[in-house]
Amino acid sequence: MVVRPPHRDIGTLAVLLTCCVTPAPRYRLAGFAALELGSGLSVLVATITGMKLRLLRVGDHLDEDTVLVRGGELDPEVLKADARRYHEVYETYGISIFAVRGMTLDEMAQQVPLIRFRGLTLVTAGELIRSGLRLEPTGRNPRHYTVGFDDLGQGVKVLTDCRHQVMTNPYYDG
């Protein structure tokens, strides 16, 4: 069973356990506490927040040399706004990026969403990981990854400081 967003307020332990074993959990466990019922009897109670969790493609790892591409440039203010928006929904900071795998960069650049960008930013998986950023395989699109971090200012700074290239998208047409 996968708990879907419309059922966000479920708080039973049964659902908690289901969430723990499902391969695509959608709820975050906020914490545990022991509830004393008297006579030495206590139960473990969990709280579940309404924040959504990402579907992670378990076992999907990238080689260090894999190139990732993101539409637009690494502008700190834009990245902060994007990461804040991600935090609103997923309670962690994240920036989307695409692995160049299964098709060429040219093919990706002429498809949505990259075709809607005049400039493209390229960075290697190794560079991101060595910088201490998380590279999470999120969602069903095998090319989609999320660059994750816990501190907004620091995370964006580390990301913008990564060695990267910016190229003009030859397929962008306005």
Binding site: R8, G71, D82, R85, E88, I95, D173
Partner: protein
């Protein structure tokens, strides 16, 4: 002239189903953002006409990005599925 952005979004962002997404809090007029409607989404690096597919209780807005240019799709903005 560039059309105004109705929904600030990072067009790179994908939800778990591969749809683009943003948040109602980033809409110019949240009342305008409802399933089926087409509007301009993006930021200064990338903009597109998108069709809103769903709006979740938490304000997450899911959309599909039309591949054509803003100019070509400008006439679709504001239209909705019957």
């Amino acid at each position: 002239m560039e059309p105004e952005i109705d929904l600030v979004a990072d067009l790179n962002s994908e939800d778990d189903d591969g749809l683009g997404w943003s948040s109602l809090s980033d809409a110019r007029d949240a009342a305008q953002v409802r399933p089926g409607v087409m509007l301009v989404a993006g930021n200064r690096f990338g903009k597109a006409v998108v069709r809103v597919m769903a709006v979740d209780e938490d304000g997450q807005v899911h959309f599909t990005v039309l591949p054509g240019t803003l100019e070509k799709n400008r006439h679709l903005v504001g239209r909705a599925l019957a």
